[in-house]
Symmetry: C2
Subunit: 270 residues, 2 copies
């Protein structure tokens, strides 16, 4: 007796009752395919599992996901893949009885501008949209991303490549699609993500690489004043790698050799 | 060159790139069909429009939604309908260029227990999951509902029919799927929803009915102590109408004639 219609057309697939569609009730991860391989693929699978665990999405079908992923990327030399896990499809309502997780894999083309901005650096602006604080959702790459959507759509021009988001307590947390690092006295500083933000795989890799290179990394609260007092800053995610920030609104940064060094170290992996 | 797969199967429909599925980037409303008509249907359409406007989902196709809704409910005597509007389908990424909103309509059966609990009242518990505060999302019935999902899945037994949610500042805001009202000295008190929560259509109707019946309504901050000091309490939404609360965890309420009076007034409409 339950029916679903999209733009007036009956949808017979249970896609229509997918809880990711109804409630954003799922998690995802985005990664790069290069030379036919998923970069940091095991880390991405482990993050999916960890995020599922934190949201009590039980028994995500990891083996099926891995097999499907391998088959789908078989003929892709370079590209981007998003892997999502939804809690289940099923009945209306927030309660989920006998959930059976669903996984989605989407491929898209490698955009040429990614490498350009690694070399040239980017312009960044502060977004008006704030991130809310909630320790039970912080860090997780879940499918409730309205705050990021609203922030990213505050501008449509090409003048800015990323926007920085503050939380409701005026702390600088991250970019709309990236994590943030500051360079100050040859130390790396990155925001604490215990109350909001996404713990990116690339953020973790940068921290590991920095430690390997004997660069000190501090995870702490960052305010706008800290950014203004920094020597340099950059954003990271699994697709862009490291994009140096040339300016944030009217505040300019100069090039910093430490960022170049990190990029070179990262290039061994990506 | 973009492809999407669900549980390993290629999905050719652009459902796979629906932004509600990817990011919870949409809004919805749920209403009752009775005697072949949508209850408070105009209010629900207006709320959809208002919520779209607040999230900058531009030009939702209201006429198409209305026509499709009329056609879909034609043969339904009694049931529940969810209407959703997603910002668009399309490319990967938070930025949405040239969006074309998509609408979804789903029907489901009328559950018999709804009327039972109007008469018997319900048992309620406090949820551990907190609601985050964010003024730009507060009040809106958007598709980012992970907090409600996590809260509602804290229990699976039939011993409790609803859970109450506090925000991160210890204010009592609402039920997982309902709005909350207290009765105190023949006055109605309902939580302020400027920082979190959903402004339900039925909440608004209750406020209107109370005013018509010369019952004072106060919208304010509510703490657990206020609930414990109340004479009575009830929850509301467009499907359940009014469910009196018999107890919250171990705190019991007695029946209150004001709730019965509101139910009788509401019965003229539903």
């Amino acid at each position: 007796m339950s029916n679903s219609y999209r733009n007036g057309e009956l949808i017979t697939s249970d896609v229509a009752t997918d809880r990711a569609l109804l409630y954003g009730d799922g998690v995802f991860t985005t990664l790069v395919i290069k030379d036919g391989k998923g970069l940091f693929i095991e880390e991405h699978f482990q993050r999916l599992l960890k995020d599922c665990h934190q949201l009590k999405i039980n028994n995500p079908p990891l083996n099926d996901i891995k097999n499907s992923f391998a088959s789908i990327i078989k003929n892709i030399n370079q590209g981007i893949v998003r892997i999502s896990v939804s809690r289940s499809s099923g009945e209306r309502g927030y309660l989920c009885v006998n959930p059976i997780p669903v996984f989605w894999i989407s491929t898209s083309q490698w955009p040429a501008h990614i490498e350009t901005f690694r070399a040239s650096g980017i312009n960044v602006r502060y977004c008006q949209q704030r991130l809310s604080q909630n320790s039970t959702l912080a860090g997780i790459k879940h499918c409730n991303r309205l705050e990021q959507v609203l922030a990213r759509n505050e501008w449509q021009s090409d003048d800015y490549q990323e926007g920085l988001m503050l939380d409701t307590a005026d702390q600088v947390i991250e970019g709309t699609m990236s994590n943030l690092f500051l360079v100050k006295n040859n130390q790396l500083i990155t925001p604490n993500l215990t109350l909001s933000g996404v713990e990116g795989i690339m953020r973790q890799k940068i921290i590991e690489i920095a430690k390997f290179e004997n660069i000190d990394v501090k995870v702490t609260t960052i305010l706008v004043d800290d950014l203004n007092a920094a020597d340099a800053a950059f954003v990271t995610n699994s697709v862009i790698g490291i994009w140096p920030i040339n300016r944030i609104d009217n505040h300019c940064f100069v090039q910093n050799p430490l960022i170049k060094k990190l990029q070179q170290s990262l290039n061994k992996f990506i």
